[in-house]
């Protein structure tokens, strides 16, 4: 367990290894694995070594001094490029750092690079990137999940100590599950979104990937909290997520939603691993409680209205004027300039979602689609509020299947959307959700299986403690792929 974030931090603190040496090892690992995994849009080798040197010379300090962090390439950084894996922002140099980047910087982290994603974070496989297809380190024929596939794959392959992603409908939890790492989507409002390139503003949230629950907790200590620059970030005190992590939760009640139990299309090996996790929690003294989330079946439908509506509005800013791609073709007026620039530089999935959103928001359809979806959102939130009266967390698979083959679902957008069945309601309701490894498939290339735990809004402290209880009692996170 020498490669966890906490182990790396401790090794640097106790001078067992210098920060420069750790960064060099990380860069070597990238050289070794990156040609096959393709997790990074950019690696900032020189800048990372310079930051590491500053740590070794005592000029750069803090709770993350010297550890290597990879950032999803939809987080604005004042250094390098911020591309969102889109032709639209291929050359975009952000004029400022996202608040999360500022906080990590102030904590002494070494930024190793920016990771690949589905274009503008729209996708579940990272195949919608305009630049490259990231592969799963456990089996490079397969996808890492998405949209934060680069951050999950980079961590799984050992190309960073930890990483940061964003989750709009499962984009941290699903790739964490498919790559065998821990991923946390914090409560809406727990982490500032300032400097996160907006996809669907009422659903987006930034969160950590770690090898262990403790790694995710340490990152949360750094990134969570109110930010005057994001008025939806909540001015609530941030607990020390690490301090009581090892304290087991007394009278733990694990919610089992009958609607999740009866969900169709769940791979039998995923089902078996998740059932074994339920038994493990019982062994640990937890009580399994039946709960009901009756509006689960409308989750994906509501999500694929709300998210595209918000996206069509958010992505209106890409006009070829202030930043981003501008067409080289002659145009007769500014509307043609907008329309040609956008058609040339947005990929097929982004165009599809802008079209769905523009249709659903257009005159005559607004009430039938958007307003109705927002009413379903209220019902989904009520379902969760009622369920959390009876339990501490709700347990389910994170993804209905393990990592699928590259190309398997690219021909049918709707099939890709259905991957999100267990993850989208968490964003719709604005609650917290975490994925951690709970098993592997059989076969000569075993694939990780992820367990999802959902918790009430601002319940991250208890959620992390419960996840840690399970992790401590199992050893799924000790295995490493060798891509």
């Amino acid at each position: 367990m020498q490669d966890t974030l906490i182990a790396a931090r401790d090794a640097i603190r106790s001078k067992q290894i210098s920060a420069v040496e750790l960064t060099r090892q990380t860069l070597q690992r990238i050289e070794q694995c990156e040609p096959r995994v393709q997790a990074f849009n950019q690696v900032h080798a020189d800048r990372a070594l310079e930051q590491a040197r500053a740590v070794d010379e005592g000029r750069r300090t803090g709770p993350l001094a010297g550890v290597t962090i990879a950032l999803k390439d939809n987080l604005c950084t004042s250094f390098g490029l911020t591309t969102c894996s889109s032709r639209m922002l291929e050359n975009f140099r952000a004029p400022y750092d996202a608040t999360v980047v500022k906080r990590l910087d102030a904590a002494g982290a070494v930024f190793i690079g920016k990771t690949n994603l589905d274009e503008f974070a729209m996708g579940s496989s990272t195949e919608n990137s305009a630049f490259k297809t990231t592969r799963n380190p456990w089996d490079i024929a397969r996808v890492p999940g998405g949209s934060s596939g680069g951050s999950a794959a980079a961590l799984a392959a050992g190309m960073c100590s930890a990483s940061i992603g964003s989750d709009t409908g499962g984009s941290i939890r699903q790739p964490a599950a498919l790559c065998g790492v821990v991923g946390l989507k914090p409560t809406y409002g727990r982490v500032s979104r300032y400097g996160l390139v907006a996809f669907a503003s009422s659903l987006d949230q930034i969160g950590p990937f770690g090898r262990t629950v403790a790694d995710a907790a340490l990152l949360m200590n750094v990134i969570a909290g109110h930010d005057p620059k994001d008025s939806t970030s909540v001015p609530l005190a941030v607990p020390d997520y690490l301090a009581e992590l090892e304290k087991p939760v007394e009278k733990l009640r694990i919610g089992i939603a009958r609607e999740y139990d009866s969900a169709a299309g769940v791979d039998p090996q995923v089902l078996a691993a998740v059932n074994a996790a339920k038994n493990k929690f019982q062994e640990l003294g937890a009580e399994l409680v039946d709960v009901s989330l009756p509006h689960t079946e409308y989750g994906i439908a509501a999500y694929y209205i709300i998210a595209p509506c918000e996206a069509s509005s958010n992505l209106a800013r890409y006009d070829g004027v202030h930043f981003g791609h501008r067409t080289k073709e002659p145009v007769k007026d500014i509307v043609e300039l907008f329309s040609k620039s956008r058609a040339e530089a947005f990929g097929p999935e982004v165009q599809r979602r802008i079209m769905i959103g523009s249709y659903a928001l257009s005159s005559g359809y607004y009430d039938a689609f958007y307003v109705r979806a927002l009413k379903i959102r209220a019902l989904i939130r009520k379902d969760f509020d009622a369920a959390f009266e009876k339990c501490d967390v709700i347990l389910s698979p994170t993804s209905p299947t393990p990592a699928f083959n590259a190309g398997e679902k690219t021909g049918d957008p709707l099939q890709m959307y259905l991957c999100d069945v267990f993850t989208v309601t968490c964003n719709i309701a604005g609650i917290a959700g975490l994925s951690l490894p709970c098993g592997f498939t059989s076969g000569d290339k075993p694939l990780p299986i992820g367990l999802q735990l959902l918790a009430p809004a601002f319940g991250e402290e208890k959620l992390l403690r419960i996840a840690h209880m399970y992790e401590f009692a199992t050893d799924w996170n000790n295995r490493r792929p060798d891509p």
Binding site: T232, I334, L374, R377
Partner: protein, 105 residues
């Protein structure tokens, strides 16, 4: 809701609203894809939403106020650094108001 089949003309109209200059082949592909996706999301019609208030986002927030004090803005060169075309302190764009004669000047 969509009342049956989407037409190519409807999809072309939406593409204009969305400021996407798409060719007919792309519009035709999108017509099929949108039909399948919109057909699926119509599932929301099966839910009973009588008397339910729409929920725009998860926080009980309304307006968030701050003191009206001037804080530094981004320097001009950083604001303009990603623009395709600039002219001094301005973003440069083609003609916005159509027709030479009715140009307000």
């Amino acid at each position: 809701m969509s009342n049956g089949k989407l037409t190519l003309d409807q999809v072309r109209h939406v593409s204009r609203l969305a400021r996407l200059a798409l060719d007919d082949q792309t519009l035709l592909r999108l017509t099929g894809e949108l039909e399948s996706i919109l057909g699926y999301v119509e599932k929301i019609n099966q839910a009973d939403v009588a008397g339910v208030e729409p929920m725009a986002h998860a926080l009980p927030l309304h307006n968030v106020f701050r003191d009206d004090v001037v804080t530094p803005s981004l320097p001009l060169e950083r604001v303009l650094q990603n623009a395709a075309e600039t002219d001094g302190p301005f973003f440069k764009v083609p003609k916005i108001i159509g027709g030479d004669e009715d140009s307000a000047g």
